[in-house]
């Protein structure tokens, strides 16, 4: 695994870090090298993503997911990526955000698959320990927001919930946003079409 060459340029990283300081909510493009993202996608797509779901009135969601830590002796691309992500990925995110970014204690990495009927209701990711949320995009296809599955940031204005920013599922994109506070509301609206949104989401601590 490796980042795209552009991220080796200190000037590019510095410019991105400045953008982070302005908003603490970014989408980066062309994150991994082309062969790395393709290899990762193909390996993840070949793995099962059993359905996970909860219902209201609890925080509700429904999507397919696999989650596991990288075992030391495992040579699967998933394990290779997880080891790399929790090491070089964490260092990269630290450099961009200026914050120490640590993997979760259990080192579990998750891959998600949103298909028809999948959704993630509004939430802010805040738990007092998470610092930066990330979403590595592994979706090759595009569809209009009306079909759901886009990442939406929300705000409450005059008592109404409004979408302040919407990001389509991405290919080789990395969404980073600050979840230290409680105001980073976001959701993934229900997918209404026969499409597939793949991503590797999670948090640094």
């Amino acid at each position: 695994m490796r980042f795209a060459d552009r991220w080796l340029d200190p000037a590019v990283r510095a410019e991105t870090a400045r953008a982070w300081r302005d908003r603490r909510n970014l989408r980066l493009h062309d994150v991994l090298a082309d062969d790395a993202i393709a290899t990762l996608h193909d390996a993840v797509a070949a793995l099962g993503h059993p359905l996970r779901a909860t219902t209201a009135p609890d925080f509700a969601y429904q999507y397919g997911a696999l989650a596991s830590p990288p075992e030391d002796s495992c040579d699967h691309v998933w394990c290779q990526f997880a080891r790399w992500w929790w090491d070089e990925g964490a260092a990269f995110v630290s450099a961009i955000t200026g914050r120490r970014a640590r993997p979760p204690a259990d080192r579990v990495l998750m891959s998600t698959l949103f298909r028809r009927g999948s959704y993630l209701d509004p939430h802010n990711d805040h738990d007092g320990a998470r610092r930066v949320a990330y979403v590595l995009g592994l979706t090759r296809t595009a569809w209009p927001a009306e079909h759901g599955g886009h990442l939406e940031f929300l705000a409450v204005r005059d008592g109404a919930v409004v979408v302040t920013e919407r990001r389509a599922p991405g290919w080789n994109t990395l969404d980073l946003f600050d979840v230290v506070g409680t105001n980073r509301l976001h959701q993934v609206p229900i997918v209404t079409a026969d499409v597939e949104r793949r991503a590797i989401p999670g948090w640094f601590y």
Binding site: L51, T55, A56, A60, Q62, R116, G117, I190
Partner: protein, 191 residues
């Protein structure tokens, strides 16, 4: 009891048989004894349903097997439901479909719940010539634009027979509401 009516003389069955021939779907109202749907709903909605995803549907489900010997410790309405599912429904369905049908798995049924994110293009993963039967539980209503209901909404205690290969779509349910139904299958057999 209404389900002990002589089925061959019911105009409702003639209508249902015509609908079956035309569209592969038929409705029969008032199949359950009065109050049984409400009793069942109270108990069955507490079961730990799990989301089940196939190529043709995504619903919450729980498979129930009722023991052949009545156990007073178990939820009593189940023992009044099974004779309906295993005797009355096959008799009604045979009259509507036009050939003898028997329970595919007697004394069992599947509890189905449609919740946000559920949809169905019918129980198509079963073998040929099976007839799917659903019994609605509850009469909760919501706008059709929210999905989760077939074009003709399933009313509480109504029986719906579905030809799996011609099953109508249940559109994606997009709001936090839920609807329960029971599902069994009937197979060709001796009456």
């Amino acid at each position: 009891m209404r389900y002990d009516l002589v089925v061959s003389s019911s105009p409702a069955l003639d209508v249902a048989a015509a609908a079956w021939r035309a569209d592969g779907i038929a409705h029969v109202p008032d199949v359950l004894p009065v109050g049984l749907a409400a009793e069942l709903l109270m108990g069955l909605r507490r079961l730990p349903l799990l989301p089940i995803e196939t190529d043709h549907e995504l619903v919450w489900a729980y498979d129930v097997a009722v023991p052949p010997v009545r156990d007073p410790q178990l939820f009593e309405p189940l023992f009044r439901l099974i004779p309906v599912l295993d005797e009355v429904v096959p008799r009604l369905a045979s009259a509507i479909v036009g050939h003898a049908l028997v329970p595919h798995a007697p004394t069992t049924f599947r509890v189905i719940a449609y919740r946000k994110g559920s949809w169905s293009r019918g129980p198509r993963d079963r073998g040929d010539r099976l007839v799917a039967c659903t019994l609605g539980l509850g009469d909760d209503a919501w706008p059709s634009a929210w999905g989760g209901q077939p074009i003709a909404p399933v009313r509480g205690d109504a029986l719906t027979l579905i030809d799996p290969v011609r099953a109508p779509e249940v559109p994606l349910l997009v709001q936090h509401v839920e609807r329960y139904e029971l599902r069994t299958l009937l197979a060709p057999g001796a009456a």
